[in-house]
Amino acid sequence: MTEPLLEINDLEVSFGDTPAVRGVSLSVAPGERVAVVGQSGSGKSTTAHAVMGLLPGSGRVTGGTIRWRGEDITHAGENRLRRLRGREVGLVPQDPMSNLNPVSRVGRQVAETLLAHRICGRREAWARAVELLGQAGLTEPARRARQYPHEFSGGMRQRVLIAIGLACRPDLLIADEPTSALDVTVQRQILDHLDGLTRELGTALLLVTHDLGLAAERADRVVVMSEGEIVETGAAKQVLTAPREEYTQRLVAAAPSLKTPSRRPVSSSDVVLEVEHVSKEYRLRGQRGRGGVLRAVDDVSFTVERGRTTAIVGESGSGKTTTARMVLGLVPATDGRIRLDGAELAGLHGARLRAARQTMQPVFQDPYASLDPMWTVERIVTEPLRTFGVGDRGSRRVKVAELLDQVALPAALAQRYPNELSGGQRQRVAIARALALGPRLVVCDEAVSALDVLVQDQILGLLSELQRELGLSYLFISHDLAVVRSLAHHVLVMKDGRVVEQGPVDEVLTAPSDPYTRQLLDAVPGATAFAG
């Protein structure tokens, strides 16, 4: 075996007195691709940052060694680290939106890395930058290099960051969640490209990610971390298909897959929600006279049946959230009809809208934002009861205990505040609030997207359990095909405000008739690995 490029031994990192990484050992051989997988707070990013000497705030290495080509760089000085960063180890950071300087031309930002390491002169650096941007997959790199970051989409910015990371031809590229802010199809393009480039240049890759499927697909070796420790390491295929450790097994089981779940067929088929030819137009500002119009949602029709789930899938900007907001009556539809239990919803006012809202409740994406931080759980859950004047103080208290029980939260939590709860607990509270009025339709807008895999699995389980018990109907908005697969009966695929395909979930997701759906399906990381 060749000498490892990077060798971490018994690494310990603490933030203040709180240990974040405990006894982590891993190595990366030249040209090897290693993925570090874990949930948030598992210490995966901290480990990566420790290598670069970029620990934020009070973080410091308290034990163990980091060796780079045999040289101990654990406590290397700033000078040594500066030479290391960029030149020998490249970094592709997570958030493409905040990692580029908005007032500097893109080409300049790439060239800067070259100049900082005195690899070449100013003029040559610019030429190299253009070349690098081209390699990173930008069309017309010469023109693009003169543009500013705000003229680029998220995927293009990530390509720029990759160009910067690879500018000095480092031996190791650390990619910290390089694509978690991007849509799946873009993610796939970026990762394919990253793959190709690193293979071509013989660069080793340390990929930090929360997505097990992505790790398995892109890496030779997978390191699974949890709570600052390494749980399991092994060949990607082996960790995914035959995990040894119990934690990894749980993680693999919880990852929503594209396999058909065993779902009990629901017999009833009366329609709860009927959406017909709904459109939403936004007038664009600043264009006098003709006035530009953005059709966020264009002629969308679907139904939700009792006790069933209709899912809307799409990437950002596809109009899926706008559709959900029109159903909830938060945004008026420009055109079309929305009927809830046969009653026309669009244009409802006063008492009738009030009645309609009683049968329909939302669960939003971010459980940190959707609960008022100043309120106790009890007050949050009983808010709909109070606004609708249901029951008195005593009966509401009983109802709270009942609702918390339904979402599997201890009744003792009723007096807590949201910031004392975990993400999963908060989302359960949001679900309890949605159930308070006994609605027939629950609109879940990316309700599990912000949660870690294990928690996501629990919430999905809870949702389908509640559906069985209470006969609830869901309108489920998501960008995640695997999540949709595990919950939905009927699925709509949206793109640019239009429905490109809809039908029963098994049909659409196994034999898609539209090329865009196929593209989406292919882009799901680990699809082949899981299916195999």
Partner: protein
Amino acid sequence: MTIDAGTPVPLARVRGRTLGRLVRNPMGVAGGVLLLIVLVAGVFAPLLAPYAPAEVHFSTPFQQPGTVGFGLGTDDLGRDILSRVLYGTRASLEVGALSVLFAVALGVPLGLLSGYWRWLDAIVSRLADLMLAFPFLILAVGLAAINGGGLANAAVALGIAQIPTMVRVVRADTLRLKETDFVLAAHTMHAGPWRILGQHVLPNALPVIIVQATVIMPAAVLGEAILSFLGLGIQPPDPSLGIMLSDAQQYLFRTPWPGIFPGIALAVICLGFNLFGDALRDALDPKTSR
């Protein structure tokens, strides 16, 4: 973005967090101590002062500080400076508290409403702009000149002059809060605007309101001194730090003491509120509390 499923934080820690941050900030502690001294002096002035503030001792004018019976000396009419500073501080705090109340009572509702309804915002914000076009003091002096002197009128003038800043701060926070998911969720429960403003927006805007109040307070205290100095605020023989400064001015080169002590008192009051307010803002700032 992913959200971790970590262990819940115990209740006591969250409750004590703001206070804990305040106590750990040395500037905040210093401000708090100054504030405490000022408040005790103002509230218990009748008990602490050896003489009535307007009591004259024509036999002993211009006493040096440290004179037996007159701890901080006497002024041109032989009035005890200590007693007058204590009562003056009391008057300053009264005016400050009243004008803060006034600014809060009018500024907060206007801010909430204009943040919530855009048509109202156009009117309220332009009016606020109009008022802000005049320097705070010019506005206060103008209002005080129209209303006439006296403690209450001075407080009203200073309070009105501070309304626009309060409106702006509350409006900005309302604009932020009305876009949050929990307000959106409240909409889907058919909660009306009053319920949303009163139960969701106002409690969440309280931190900025409190912080803005600690900014208004020293400005009002200083404003009162200036109005009184100009003869537009509290009228003699009622004691005021501003009047003391104005009186001391004539004899400043003979004995500076009647001017120095009210000056120190003013500085301490303003410093206390400013330091405490800064620390409070840092402690309440959600950006640093996660």
